[in-house]
Amino acid sequence: MELNLSLPHAPANVLDKHILDILLTSFPFKYLKNNELALILPYCEIINFPQGAVFIEQGQKEDGLFVILKGRALQKSIILGHELIHLDYLKEGDFLCEGGLITQAYSPCHVICQQNLICFKLSNTYFELLGSAFPNIRYKILKGIMEKLFLRLKNSQNEIVKLGAKNINAPPSFISQIQKIFSMSKVPYFESVHLTVDSLFKILFSHYFSEDEYKILISHCELIKTDPNFTLTNQNNDCYIIIRGAVQANINDGGSFIKVAVLSIMNFFTSLSHYDNLLSYTTCERSILLKISSANCEIIEKTNLHVWHKIYNFICISLIFIERATAKLVIRLNSENL
């Protein structure tokens, strides 16, 4: 299939097959088919950075996803005025600044071009528009990015343990209630928080879901009320939504865990069990959560794809937050060794 490419700022023949192969094997685009990539190419850019240029500064707001097509860049973190090299060189196929695509995110490090760098850029604006025009493409891009984020978390886990972070064995809470949400007609009343299913929609979900979408979501949920220090076991890729209270995300370290981040209201979170139970979650306050079992997640994905896309978007936002918090923890631990 011939691709009609006319990218602004790009030399006419820059997107040869080799470049397209790089894109299709990079994490963000690995799940796209050729024709899906072709749909978005006209709205993307090829940008050149000269050797020595600062690609992005630590703390700078991220603007657009970049995939390296050619060249090499170095990631450096500045910690209390000291330079620390955290990662190996970024090379072709690697991506960065993904956080800015779906949430306000700031670069955790400096990136400096070691060689002339050619990058493929997908802007935040266009990525947002993809949600309306080609939501499935947007979803696939996010899926690819999330896979890489888990790998980064895995590396961070090793570094955090090596740096000697304090780990905690939390005592399990023995009191928790699991209450199923029945049909909307029964309108269960969450007495302790003066919430009904309707009011929950008005104060929390209406900003992000239509009423119909919310009904689909809520009909696949269970309500969980927990005490503090309750560890949510997650062998099955269940998804949780925080309605009240707060949950601490942890990096697992053998039988104990290391605190990384605190998630609050309207955070959706999960962990992928095939990543060796990398993450665990413990309530740090008494909490009320909605749980979507992994089976129900699959049902929503099969029967109401647009709702699943929204849920997945929220999961990604939380994961980016956790990944950035992990990077901050590494910085803090390194600062203690300076």
């Binding site: 707060a246 605190k259 609050s264 306050e285 923890l329």
Partner: protein
């Protein structure tokens, strides 16, 4: 929603903390980078120790309910005071005539007869209901010293009541235990009165020998029923720190200079510069405490888990 800053280390002209950096402490009173839904216009206060001043164990104390950015006297003072330890606070309250803006309500609080000062960034929900029960835990001699209407002053009196002596030096553990006891009492009283609403308690303490700060919220994630659309005030209150050799102007920006000796530390609600790369966020539910030992800053952090 209040901004607080505390400093310990090499003597520094106060202007270099309060006025000169691009996100200076005084600028945070009218244009904070964080929690910007509420300006901090209800008073400015500071306690600052200068070892070259007479009665060097007594700090300079300055408190005013006026706007600090218009305060010429304050500016002049900060150009003259060379302090090794500072605690300063700008007060932010909601825009209603129910709030009392007065010098008596300006932090930091420093009762006569003690060397320990406290400032608070936060708000105990339904605090007025707690007062009677709190009296049971506050030493009688301290009850009479409370003259303002803030929850912060009561927290201060409660914390002092957990210490064996009101003067002299304290070990890290003594301070941590006093803070934990204070928080446990507050939690217990809240529980008895069924007050289960988000209430941030970022405390800042110093006596000139050490500085301590907490990043903590009671019942985080439990907004009041009457919550408005603005959720920013329900976010976990920020707390940052930086440490190194000295805080100074370098290439037109203020930065904690790295060096072989770490002898200065700043703990603050937000960084003093828009560039935050030389600052570190304090984790949630944490106590941080620092002191100078053999001309080097020693820092300890501890998780605050009251459950």
């Amino acid at each position: 929603m209040c901004r607080v800053l505390t400093y310990l280390g090499k003597p520094i002209i106060l202007e270099d903390l309060l006025f000169n950096p691009d996100n200076s402490f005084i600028k945070q009173s009218y244009d904070p980078n964080y929690m910007s839904y509420l300006l901090n216009l209800a008073g400015f206060g500071m306690v600052a120790w200068d070892s070259n001043s007479p009665n060097k164990n007594l700090p300079f104390i300055y408190k005013s309910d006026q706007l600090p950015f218009y305060d010429e006297n304050l500016r002049n003072l900060t150009q003259k005071i060379n302090s090794y330890c500072l605690l300063t606070h700008v007060r932010g309250v909601s825009y209603t005539n129910r709030e009392i803006v007065s010098r008596q309500n300006v932090h930091p609080f420093l009762f006569e007869g003690t060397s320990l000062a406290l400032a608070h960034n936060g708000d105990l929900y339904d605090f007025n209901k707690m007062k009677i029960k709190l009296l049971n835990y506050i030493d009688e001699g301290l009850q009479n010293k409370i003259i303002g209407s803030t929850d912060s002053e009561w927290i201060y009196a409660l914390l002092l009541s957990q210490l064996k002596n009101l003067n002299g030096s304290y070990s890290f553990d003594e301070i941590i235990i006093a803070i934990e006891k204070t928080f446990k009492i507050l939690k217990e009283i809240r529980y008895e009165l069924n007050i289960r609403v988000t209430s941030p308690v970022n405390l800042f303490l110093t006596n000139g020998d050490f500085i301590a700060a907490t990043r903590f919220v009671f019942d985080f994630g439990w907004p009041p029923k009457e919550t408005s659309e603005n959720q920013e005030h329900l976010a976990y209150h920020s707390l940052w720190y930086t440490f190194g050799e000295c805080y100074e102007n370098s290439n037109n920006t203020y930065v904690m200079k790295p060096g072989p000796k770490k002898c200065s530390v700043i703990v603050a609600s937000e960084p003093l510069t828009n560039d935050t790369t030389t600052w570190i966020e304090v984790p949630e539910y944490t106590i941080l405490i620092a002191r100078l030992k053999n001309e080097t800053i020693e820092i300890k952090t501890k998780d605050l888990n009251l459950n």
